[in-house]
Structures are given as C-alpha cells and as structure tokens.
Amino acid sequence: MKKYWVDLKISLANNLEYRGQLFVWFLNEFVGLVSTIFIWTAIFRTNTSVGTYNFQSIISYFILIPLIGAFTGVFVSDYFPRKIKNGEISSDIVKPYSVTGLIFVDTVSVKITQFTIKVPIYLVAGYLLANYFRLELYFTHLLEAMFVCIFSFLLHFFIDLAISYSAFWFQEVWSLGLLRSVIITVFGGLAFPLDLVPEGVRTLFSFLPFRFIFYFPIKIAQGQVPPEMILKEFFQMLVWIGVFFLLCRLLWKNGLKKYGAYGN
C-alpha cells in the first residue's frame, strides 16, 4: 500500500512542474467555451427555444462540460498501448503489485493535480458566468453531480483501460482511442445535449453506457433529473462499471498470455 502512496507523491510532484502546460490547457478549454457561447447567442437571437432548452439552460449545459470533464476525463489510452507495444510492461509485470492498480493510481494522481488547479478556476469562472448569464445553478445539485462523477470517472476509466488492453492484439490502438473520443463526443453528450434528438434516437442512446460520462452528471447539476430517475440511472451505471471492470480483467489475463508468448 505504501508503494502506491510513494508513486502518487512522485506523480504529483512531476505534474506540478508543468505549470505552463496547465495554463495553456485551461486557455484551450476557455476558448472552446467562448466559441460555443458565441454560436448559441447567435442562435437565440432569432429563436426563443431550442428543443426543451432556453438560452440559460443551454449555456449552463456547455459551461458545465469542462467542470464535469475535469472529473471524468481519462487518458490511459494515450500512453499505455505504446508501453505494451514496446514491451515496456515487462518490468512492471514481475513486480509484486497489480499493474491495473498502478495505472489507476497514476490516473488518479493526474486527476488530483488537475483538480487542485482546474476545479477552483472552473468554479470561480462558472460562478461569474452564471451570474453574467443569470443561470439557475444550485450548489446542492452540483454536489450531487460531483458525487455521481466519481462513478462516471470509474466507468470511463474501465472503458479506456479496456481499449488500452486491446493493444495486446491490435497494433493501431491510438485509432481506437480516437474512436472512443468520437463516440463519447456524440453519445456522451459532449457535442450536443442528448435530449435534443428525436424520440427514436434517444432510445438508442439509452442502451449505451456513454451518456453517464457527460450527459447524466450535467443534467443532475442542472437539477433536471427527478430523484427516482437519478437512482434508476445510477444503478444502471453501476452495472456498466461492473461489465467493463470484468472485461478489463478478461482482456488483461488473456493479453498477458499472448504477450508472454512472444518471448517478452
């Protein structure tokens, strides 16, 4: 256990080095948000409502995206597949702790670094923007959303891990990672709120686990999900987490066999 703690501390120290990097990332998100606000302002100049959204609710939806993203974003598939491809995990496998556990700890450490810098900025910026646009956001809803986000993060983590583990069989995993981005952008509620689509498409979305990564927590933060619904969806999310967790274990076990077969 102590091993994990030391690793976390080292990861943290490394991450704090990149102050310039963090600043630029933040600027990046901000510019994206500004662009979105421009578009929707223009849309609402000639429309009073878009689907069930008015100007305030659509803006608050997009403003919440970076905040939720800070919780749920994972980047394992950005680096881990390469380690498998290059045979770099050989030294990790023989060590007396779980590689999955190590990846998890590394991911969490990055998250925590991002929190300490990003979340306060997002909260402050969000508060200012909420005042400026007169948005209806309540702190209790935000707290509920953040709690759910922990599980959204877990779900996203295992999905991304499963993709990473496919590197044991599949050469160009980076393309899968990008495909994951595309899928989550569309089906996760990142490109547009999922309730803007017609009924039939919405049923399709309800069979997929991706809405839990952005759409679900954002709607909770907006206070637009009735309590019974929250519970129902939450349990579904737990099931999906279980599914992907098991998938990861399966892929890891079988992947290692294949990996060893190549004399790594």
């Binding site: 080095e17 990149y18 102050r19 310039g20 990097q21 600043f23 630029v24 990332w25 600027l27 990046n28 510019v31 994206g32 500004v34 662009s35 421009f38 578009i39 302002t41 223009a42 849309i43 100049r45 000639t46 429309n47 878009v50 689907g51 050469q171 160009e172 393309s175 990008l178 495909l179 595309v182 952008t185 569309v186 490109a191 547009f192 803007l196 689509v197 017609p198």
Partner: protein
Amino acid sequence: MATSVVRHLKVYWKLVRFAVSLELEYRFAYILEVFVELAFFAVTLMGLRVLFWNVSEVAGWDYYELMVLSGVNMVFSELLLGTSFIFNLRSLPYKIVRGDLDIILTKPINSQFAVSLWRPYFAMVPSALAGAFIAYLGFSKGGFSFHLANVPASLLIFGCGLIMAYSIGVIVTSLAFWFTNATPLPMLAQQVLFMSKNPAAVFTGAWRMIFMTILPIAFMVSFPSSVLLGDLQLWWLPASLVLAVVFLKSSNLFWNFALKKYSSASS
C-alpha cells in the same frame, strides 16, 4: 532572393515526395487516419443535423447554407492542419526541449519553413475532398445558383485566409520558446483558429471588428463560403491580400525574434 525561393520550392517538392513514400509505407495507419478524420467530420455534420431538428436558421444562414459552410470549413481545417500543424508545429515544443532544432538551424534553409512546413500530412487529401463534396451537396440540395465568376474570388480569399491562419499558428507556437513544457500551445492556436467555423454573422459589435482584423477568422471560412453562395463584398478582396501579407511578415519577424531568444539563453 528569387533563387532562394526556387531552391525552397525544390526542397519542398522533395519533402512532399518523402511524405507520400512514408504514407505508402504505413498504409494501414494512413487509412485509419483518414477514417478518423472522416469520423470527426461526421460528428460535426451530426451536430448540425441535431441543431436543425430544433431550429430553422442560425444568424441568417439556413441548413443548406450551413452545410456548404461546414464543407468549406473541412477543406480549410484539413489543409491548415495537414500542411503545418500535424507533423510540424505540434512537435515544435518537443523539439525545443530536446534540442532537436540544432540540426535544422545549421542548414542553409529558412528555419521557419523547416519547422512549420517540413512534412505534409496526406490524410488531409481525402478529408479535404470529403469537405468539398459536402459543400457541393449543400450547394446543389439548397438550390443555389452557381456563378463561375465567384470561384476565383472565393479561392483568393480562402488562400489568403489560409496564410493568415498559418501565420497565427506560427506566432502562437513560437511562444513555446518561452513556455518550455507548454506542449499544448499548438492545440491552443488550433482552437482559436477553429472559431472560423462560425458564420461571420454570429459575431456582433466589437467582436466583429476583432474577427475581421486582429484575428481575421472571418476571412478563413465564412467569407469564402459567402462568395460561393453568391454574396461577395468587393472590399474583401484587397483586405484579404493585405492581411495575408501583414500576418505572414509578422510571423516571420516574431519567429526570428523567438529564435534569437532561444540561442541567447540556452546551451
């Protein structure tokens, strides 16, 4: 001066052929790249579709006009990313940190050219064609009348817009000489430049001024699309030429300034 330009063109031609050989070498990766580009394009179009399930116009543009805009935007972003960002500007921060610029700087070749245009990304070709196709689709389905005379005007503004965008990309990426470890700087430049995907009419007041001068994104996608759709304002033509020259020269000045800083402060 002229011989230098010719020499650089010859070198560029060689580089283009290198890029092609490399893409052919890694054929599978190339196909996947194209696939991913097209997938993201599809997402954009999906977003447009979803929006228009709920509204009928945006800032005076209807569905088909926006489709043309999306198509032109795809061509624009693919050409911009493909010639300068993907293999070149994006890796500049890494090159600076690892000292890989030395090899480039000791060669008798324009350093800005070597750093920003070295390797073209060929997945941009099919993707750009897809964009052109969507633009064509929007045009024909929307029943707009086509005037051949509009094409050269549109191309001129578009070309100048590309040069402006490239110059801005170089300037922003050059900041990496000061912010070591700021590897996402090129992505920031991209993010800002991609605001050009909005019709110019979206921006009002002071913003409109800014986006036609200091950060002339209006010239990159919106104005060329408008011209194709039959709306040409003559002042766009000289304005885009002037802006292109100004921005290109500025990028060169800034780049040299940043380089000087790099060689003074490192070892």
